[in-house]
């Protein structure tokens, strides 16, 4: 609860962004917030369940594709399409989770990568549904309560409020009894099992929860761009979100958010100067793993603690 007041202040400050900056930065802000939601969803798995998934782009991508397909091919309105998209993506997440959790450790990681690559290949080759390399375009943003979201400021505030809700829900979840048992399965799976917890079921629930939040990010993504291309499902996309979580600090609420903001900034600014985003991404990955394995937020925290000790 001690985070409530700073959290509200931060939210108020972020809500003022459109008042002080132009449309370019407002749109960049929306993209960052979507990345924050996406990173928080992966953090449930990587940080709290200790399950490193290398295929998390599958859920954002599936959700974006399903939303686009429902709107374009079935002509559904947003009020119908959005819940159906979340439901379908979460259901697929449930199936993928069942497959991936048949294995553990490195095999889990390889399975998540293989599954997401299968979805990626499907997006490229199943042209009758996905329109292949051309992607699906011609989408619209929803207009809840008659508010026109084609306006960047309105859309920014929409994304900001959903981000706040998602972070509060994820924060409540990981501090709930379920969150405690989830961390238990991460740290001491065998003990949890002998205490009578169903480790497999707890992990599966985390996987489904992560794919649901990922699907939320996917919906916001497709509303923002009004376009979806197979590259949202690529390994690069999965690696970007994993880098956000690990660079920021897996297993903390703020870490992945900080990481996501940094990765979006890096991608936006660096790609303006160098064309080699993949190389830079790879290099940052190797650097973080070698030099800062626990991430920025825990690293900064321990630095602050050490400074306080010195002063005392």
């Amino acid at each position: 609860m001690k985070a409530t007041i700073p959290g509200l202040l931060l939210l108020a400050a972020l809500a003022l962004l459109p008042a002080v900056s132009g449309e370019y930065y407002v749109n960049l802000g929306s993209q960052m917030l979507i990345a924050v939601i996406f990173a928080s969803s992966l953090n449930l798995l990587v940080g709290y369940a200790g399950l490193t998934s290398l295929g998390h782009a599958a859920y954002l991508g599936l959700s974006a594709y399903i939303a686009a397909w429902l709107a374009l091919r079935l002509g559904l309105g947003h009020a119908m399409a959005a819940p159906l998209t979340l439901l379908a993506t979460t259901a697929i997440g449930g199936i993928f989770g069942w497959i991936a959790l048949r294995a553990s450790g490195l095999s889990f990681l390889m399975l998540t990568l293989a599954l997401s690559q299968v979805v990626w290949g499907l997006a490229y080759r199943w042209t009758s549904v996905t329109n292949g390399d051309n992607g699906l375009s011609g989408l619209t943003r929803p207009a809840p309560f008659g508010i026109d979201m084609e306006n960047s400021n309105a859309y920014y505030w929409f994304v900001l409020s959903i981000t706040a809700v998602v972070l509060v829900v994820v924060g409540r979840l990981v501090n709930s009894p379920f969150g405690a048992s989830l961390r238990g399965t991460r740290d001491q799976a065998r003990r949890m099992s002998s205490l009578g917890y169903n480790v497999w079921a707890i992990r599966w629930c985390a996987f489904v929860g992560a794919s649901f939040v990922g699907a939320v990010a996917g919906l916001l993504y497709v509303y923002f761009h009004k376009y979806v291309h197979p590259s949202v499902l690529s390994v690069t996309a999965s690696a970007e979100v994993l880098l956000s979580v690990i660079a920021g600090g897996a297993g903390t609420l703020a870490g992945p958010a900080v990481g996501a903001v940094l990765v979006v900034l890096l991608k936006n600014y660096a790609s303006g100067y160098v064309e080699r985003w993949n190389m830079l991404l790879g290099a940052v990955f190797v650097f973080i793993v070698l030099v800062m394995p626990h991430g920025i937020v825990p690293g900064a925290r321990s630095l602050l603690a050490r400074l306080k000790e010195k002063r005392a």
């Binding site: 490195l106 990681l109 390889m110 299968v118 690696a239 994993l242 993949n278 990955f285």
Partner: protein, 286 residues
């Protein structure tokens, strides 16, 4: 009839390439517990090096040799300079290999450009061969033969040589292997080089079938992962069998239902995971 025979041959040839690629992955994983995600990139580097050497007119045999040597050297450097520093932290090692694979793939794009580079097979294998009144592309027959020879050589290497005995000891019980005087450091580097070289050879032999193009790594890596999971992680014999299963499933899937070939790849994996989560021969000694 010709269709089925041709597709069968294509399946076996793709299975052969997957055998080279995946057995390297399985060797490294079995001994060092590293899921080497640079394997797809190493395959691609092998294909590109072979393409360049063949274009320079040095002949296909030289192209294969140089591709193998180049990827072995790159693999050795990866292991010594990066992975060695992360020993004992499996997750960090995987993430490092992922980062390295991005760097390698982008470097290939810088060096060789974005257009696919075809690799011509050696002259004596470029025409069709006829067998029992049917004609076959003779290069694919040669790839199958190469893969079978490689499988036998690997098996003999592991079962009949001193290096193989050391590797088997390390796979079974690394601390004990160290205690009896096996130098783990040298063993790890040589196995990593060997695994990387197998991926590079796969790429070189795959060049005339697939040609070298950006994205070849992302196309091959999931196939290798599926083969390894299907065969049983770390089991060499399981990897051999699974390579040909996936070769058949993927080739016939692409030929019969091109849109959904990627989904059909799932099926053998789901069946095996449902009934034998450790893979076909997982847990059994290979």
């Amino acid at each position: 009839m010709q269709f089925w025979l041709t597709q069968t041959l294509n399946s076996l040839a793709l299975g052969g390439l997957l055998l080279l690629l995946s057995s390297g992955f399985a060797l490294i994983f079995g001994l060092m517990r590293i899921a080497n995600l640079t394997h797809g990139a190493l395959f691609m580097i092998g294909a590109y090096v072979a393409a360049s050497v063949a274009r320079a007119g040095w002949g296909f045999a030289m192209a294969v040799v140089l591709a193998g040597l180049a990827t072995a050297a790159i693999g050795g450097l990866f292991e010594r300079l990066v992975l060695r520093r992360l020993a004992g932290n499996a997750q960090a090692q995987v993430l490092a290999t992922l980062g390295l694979s991005f760097i390698a793939a982008d470097l290939c794009l810088v060096l060789w450009g974005g257009d696919p580079i075809p690799v011509s097979p050696p002259a004596f294998l470029s025409g069709p061969a006829s067998l029992f009144g049917f004609s076959f592309p003779s290069y694919r027959l040669a790839v199958i033969a190469v893969a079978l020879v490689a499988a036998v050589v690997l098996y003999l290497l592991l079962e009949r040589t001193r290096l193989g005995a050391r590797i088997r000891a390390g796979v079974d019980d690394m601390p004990m292997a160290r205690a009896v005087g096996i130098r783990a450091s040298a063993l790890f580097t040589s196995v990593f080089c060997l695994g990387a070289m197998l991926a590079g050879l796969g790429g070189a032999f795959g060049g005339p079938m697939l040609s070298a193009y950006p994205g070849l790594d992302a196309d091959m890596l999931p196939l290798a992962l599926i083969v390894v999971i299907l065969g049983g992680v770390g089991s060499l014999m399981g990897t051999f069998i699974a390579s040909f299963i996936i070769g058949f499933v993927y080739t016939f899937g692409t030929a019969l239902v091109p849109d959904l070939a990627y989904v059909i790849l799932f099926l053998p994996m789901i069946l095996v995971l449902a009934f034998r989560p450790t893979g076909l021969l997982g847990g059994a000694r290979a």
